[in-house]
C-alpha cells in the first residue's frame, strides 16, 4: 500500500506519522460535525444525544490507536451518525410527535403541589433526585412548588406557587427604565467601531467618555461596555488602578451640590472678609447652576 492508502485504509501497521495525520484529520472532521450538530450545550443533552456523542467519539479514537481500523470507514460512520441526529432533530421540528416518541417529551413530576409518584417511577428518578433538582431551582420547599417538570434534556423546571414567587418591580408598581442589551465597545485595547456605530455613537464620542474617566488611550482598556443609557464601563489591563467611572448627569448634580456645600463651609470657616465673600459668591454660582441643571437634565433624558 502507498502511504496515503495506509493512512485512510486498514493496514496491519502504520508509521507514527500516519497516526499523526489521522489525528489531525479526525480532529478537524469532528470540529466540523460538532458545529453542524450544534448548538447544544454540554449538560443539555437528551439521552440520545449523549449516546450518539459517545459513539462518535469511540469511532474516532479507535482509528487513532489501531492501524487495522479502517480510517475512511470511521470518518464515514462518524459523519453518518451526526447526520442522522441532525435529520432526526429537523424532522422533530416538523413532526413534534415523532420527537416525543424517539427522544421523549416533558414529564410532569409535581402537579398542583402534589408529587406524581407514578411519573417519578417512569422517569426513573428517586426523591433525592427530585429534591436536588428543586433545590437547584431555588425551590427547596415542596410546599412552595406548584408544578415541576422533567424536561427532555434532563433538567427539572419549576413553577412556584404565585405567593412564593419573587417580587417584581411590576408588583410593587415601580416604574423601571428600559434595560437593553449592552454592547462591547472596546476589546483588547481596540475600539470596536462597528458596535459603536450600530448604537449610533462615534469613536470621538467614546474617546471623550474615556477621557472623562481619566483614560487617555484606548490601548490600556482591556474591555469596555456600553449600556442602554449611554453609560460606559471600562476595565483596564492594570488591575491595581481604580476602576474609572463616568459620571452620569444625575451624579453631576450631586457633585455640584456637594461643591456648593463645601464652598458655604469655607465661607463660614474663614476669618478673612474678602475670602468669605469670594467663597459665598462661588457657592451662589454653583447653587444656581444646580437649579438650572435640574430641569435641563430631565429634558435631556426625555430626548
Amino acid at each position: 500500500m502507498s502511504f496515503i492508502e495506509q493512512v485512510f485504509l486498514n493496514p496491519p501497521e502504520l508509521h507514527i506519522v500516519g497516526f499523526l495525520i489521522r489525528g489531525i484529520l479526525a480532529f478537524i472532521f469532528l470540529a466540523i460535525l460538532a458545529r453542524l450538530m450544534g448548538p447544544v450545550e454540554i449538560g443539555e443533552f437528551t439521552a440520545l444525544d449523549f449516546i450518539v456523542a459517545i459513539t462518535i467519539g469511540s469511532i474516532a479514537s479507535a482509528a487513532l490507536v489501531d492501524s487495522e481500523v479502517h480510517f475512511l470507514s470511521s470518518l464515514m460512520n462518524m459523519a453518518l451518525w451526526a447526520f442522522l441526529v441532525i435529520i432526526l432533530n429537523l424532522l422533530g421540528i416538523r413532526f413534534p410527535n415523532l420527537r416525543r416518541i424517539v427522544v421523549g417529551g416533558p414529564l410532569v413530576l409535581i402537579r398542583n403541589g402534589k408529587v406524581l409518584e407514578k411519573n417519578l417511577f417512569r422517569a426513573k428518578l428517586n426523591f433525592d433526585d427530585l429534591m436536588s433538582g428543586l433545590r437547584l431551582k431555588d425551590a427547596p420547599l415542596l410546599e412552595d412548588v406548584e408544578f415541576a417538570v422533567l424536561e427532555p434534556r434532563g433538567e427539572i423546571s419549576v413553577i412556584k406557587k404565585s405567593q412564593k414567587q419573587s417580587v417584581t418591580p411590576e408588583a410593587l408598581k415601580m416604574v423601571t427604565e428600559y434595560q437593553g442589551m449592552p454592547s462591547i465597545v472596546v476589546l483588547n485595547g481596540k475600539v470596536m467601531k462597528k458596535s459603536l456605530e450600530s448604537r449610533g455613537y462615534t469613536e470621538n464620542w467614546l474617546m471623550n467618555k474615556l477621557f472623562e474617566m481619566g483614560v487617555e488611550d484606548a490601548r490600556i482598556v482591556s474591555i469596555a461596555q456600553l449600556d442602554s443609557n449611554g453609560q460606559v464601563y471600562a476595565d483596564l489591563y492594570d488591575d491595581k488602578q481604580e476602576r474609572p467611572e463616568s459620571t452620569s448627569q444625575k451624579e453631576l448634580i450631586i457633585k455640584l451640590e456637594k461643591i456648593n456645600a463645601e464652598l458655604e463651609n469655607h465661607a463660614l470657616n474663614t476669618g478673612n472678609e474678602e475670602a468669605k465673600m469670594l467663597y459665598a459668591e462661588y457657592a451662589e454660582k454653583t447653587g444656581s447652576i444646580v437649579k438650572a441643571l435640574k430641569p435641563l437634565i430631565l429634558k435631556a433624558e426625555e430626548i
Partner: protein, 67 residues
C-alpha cells in the same frame, strides 16, 4: 485637614464637574441644551481659576495652611 487641603479637594471636584459639563455639552445633540452646558462649564471654569488663585495666596502668606 488643613485649610489648603480642604480647598484643594473642592478645587478638584470643581475641575471634574467642569469636565463633566464640557463632555455633556459635546454629547447632546439638542442645541439649546448644548449651549447651556457650555455656559455652565465656562462659569465653573472661572470659579476654578478664582479658587486656584486664592489657594496660591493662602500658601504664600501662611505656609502652615499648605495642604
Amino acid at each position: 485637614m488643613t485649610v489648603g487641603k480642604k480647598l484643594k479637594t473642592t478645587l478638584s471636584s470643581l475641575k471634574s464637574a467642569q469636565a463633566d459639563l464640557e463632555s455633556f455639552a459635546l454629547e447632546t445633540e439638542n442645541q439649546i441644551v448644548k449651549d447651556s452646558f457650555s455656559q455652565f462649564a465656562d462659569q465653573t471654569k472661572s470659579i476654578v481659576e478664582g479658587l486656584k488663585t486664592r489657594i496660591q495666596e493662602i500658601e504664600e502668606e501662611e505656609p502652615q495652611y499648605k495642604g
